[in-house]
Amino acid sequence: MKTRIVAYAAGLALIALGLRGIVMDVPVTAWAAWFAGAVLVHDGVLVPVVLAAGLLTGPLPGRYRRIVRAALLVGACVTAVALPLVLGHGRRADEPSRLPLPYERNLAVVLGCIAAAAACAAVARAVIARAVIVHRGRRGGGAARAAPPAGKGPGR
């Protein structure tokens, strides 16, 4: 309990220090707009879009659904971080070494690689599943279907 009180006091002091610096050195309105705006856009736009993607991929068969969602997650993160480069607002004619690459093409290549990796994983899964069925079929009796993969909760 004592540790927790010390931690709370230290945390509040750090927050107060940060706020003091903001008030003294930074235009507060613009800062607050970006601070609260980031939360609003994240909670009100980004997460609902992710939830919608979860709903849309829900009907896929279990073993492919997780691969598709994983590929979407990785691709979306890479895109989010690369977006300012792709939009290229920071380019300057007199400084060509700034943002020197064709980022639209590069992002497309990276997303293509992620999609290809996902496709390979899906094919591998299908082949393994079929092998399991054939194997069980040979042994006679056995389940006609491969056991469903563990942890199949819909990712909403």
Binding site: T3, A7, A10, G11, L12, L14, I15, A16, L17, G18, G21, I22, D25, P27, A30, W31, W34, F35, A36, A38, V39, H42, D43, V50, G54, R66, A70, L73, V74, C77, V78, A80, V81, A82, P84, L85, H89, G90, R91, R92, D94, E95, P96, S97, R98, L99, P100, L101, Y103, N106, V110, I114, P149, A150, G151, K152, G153, P154, G155, R156
Partner: protein, 396 residues
């Protein structure tokens, strides 16, 4: 973080039930958290992601402080000039590590998202205060990520100076994090240390988040780690791309020094607390003993590249002018305005034999955009402090 209540349908949503729309709305809202059916919205996932994210925030905070106090030294800070690549590593870790933390942050926030819609939103004064602190934590974390990502893309869309806002917000983030960890520690500990008995596919999810962080790092790290340069397809800089194989942050044209730097009447003056004030032409500088140093340009934006610099040791010039051993030095650029028109060189740096007033780069005279006719280059120092187009050295 989130209990998983069974899916319940509120009575008011039963078919046939009729209520005014306004009265129905709260019922739909109050049961919202229960409608998140993924079992990944749970304490164990939130705790594991939280530990990784907390470590990431601490590393970013520490490396960020290094960068801040190198540029604005407080009275108690005295930076050594070695190891040569220290700043290159800390700032590379700050920027590339910060980028790789973004997927962790987004995954963590998704995991605890149902808590955003808990009902009632505020139950008591203490509960309200806790939620306010969570808002500070989430807001500061998102703010640091968004401004950082935009800044390295040179997209200054915000109406404030990035460095100051990013610096002060870091304290808010750290403070809110300390409080969050203190409050959540027992639960997180329990959630992590207890072996789960269910069959929820947490490992797959966590590995996917790790893969996202890895993909972000892999496509950007080459801007700081030259052997990986060809993989840095989504980095704002590419080692080797720029005049003489070195990227340029501020060009001569952008700073308006072109004609002054090309003027044959250019002189380097050494003034201030010296016994023999000096005025040196470019030929005078070339006549002094020339030395070669392999040093990186390590930008505050995280990119860095090593190059071969050739020129006069700063300490040779200072000894020629006659200075005290503990003298502090200010190196001034031809730039008339701008935050980085001058930089401070403290004794550890100007005594270092690797610290040069460089006249050449990678086997040729300095390109105009790299600071022709003369620039400072020193070990373990941010790129913005490697002053270009130097024309004055003031000793004090």
């Amino acid at each position: 973080m989130v209990r998983r209540p069974a899916l319940r349908k509120p009575a008011s949503l039963k078919p046939g039930a009729w209520k005014p729309a306004l009265a129905r709305l709260p019922a739909a809202v109050t049961t919202l958290p229960g409608r998140f059916t993924s079992r990944l919205h749970d304490e164990r996932v939130a705790s594991l992601l939280g530990i990784a994210l907390g470590a990431g925030v601490l590393v970013s905070f520490g490396t960020g402080l290094v960068s801040h106090f190198m540029q604005q030294p407080a009275g108690w800070t005295r930076w050594p000039s070695r190891p040569v690549n220290l700043y290159r590593v800390t700032q590379g870790v700050h920027v590339i590590g910060g980028l790789a933390t973004v997927p962790l942050l987004l995954a963590k926030l998704w995991t605890v998202y149902p808590r955003l819609w808990q009902w009632p939103p505020v139950g008591s004064l203490a509960h309200g205060a806790r939620r306010l602190l969570v808002f500070a934590l989430v807001g500061a974390a998102l703010f640091q990520s968004v401004t950082g990502v935009l800044n390295i893309g040179y997209w200054y869309a915000f109406g404030f100076f990035f460095t100051t806002a990013h610096y002060w917000t870091a304290y808010i983030l750290l403070g809110a994090l300390v409080i969050h960890v203190a409050g959540q520690w027992p639960r997180a500990r329990r959630a992590v240390m207890t072996r789960p008995q269910d069959a929820v596919g947490r490992r797959g999810f966590l590995l996917t988040v790790a893969a996202a962080s890895g993909a972000v790092a892999l496509t950007t790290a080459g801007e700081a780690a030259t052997p990986l340069a060809r993989l840095a397809v989504l980095a704002p800089r590419r080692p080797g791309n720029g005049p003489q194989g070195v990227p340029v942050n501020r060009s001569a044209a952008a700073t308006g020094v072109t004609s002054l730097a090309r003027d044959p009447g250019w002189r380097l003056t050494v003034t201030g607390r010296v016994t023999r004030p000096l005025t040196l032409t470019l030929a005078d500088l070339r006549a002094l003993p020339q030395h070669t140093a392999r040093l990186p340009i390590s930008c505050v934006e995280g990119w860095s590249v090593e190059a071969t610099w050739r020129g006069v040791r700063l300490r040779d010039v200072l000894h020629l002018a006659g200075v005290a051993g503990d003298a502090r030095v200010r190196v001034e650029s031809l730039e008339r305005h701008g935050r980085h028109r001058a930089s401070q060189v403290d004794p550890p740096h100007w005594h270092d034999p690797l610290t040069l007033l460089a006249l050449g780069l990678n086997g040729a005279p300095l390109a105009l955009d790299h600071g022709y006719p003369c620039r400072l280059i020193a070990p373990n120092r941010p790129g913005v402090m490697q002053t270009k187009w130097v024309h004055r050295v003031v000793v004090w």
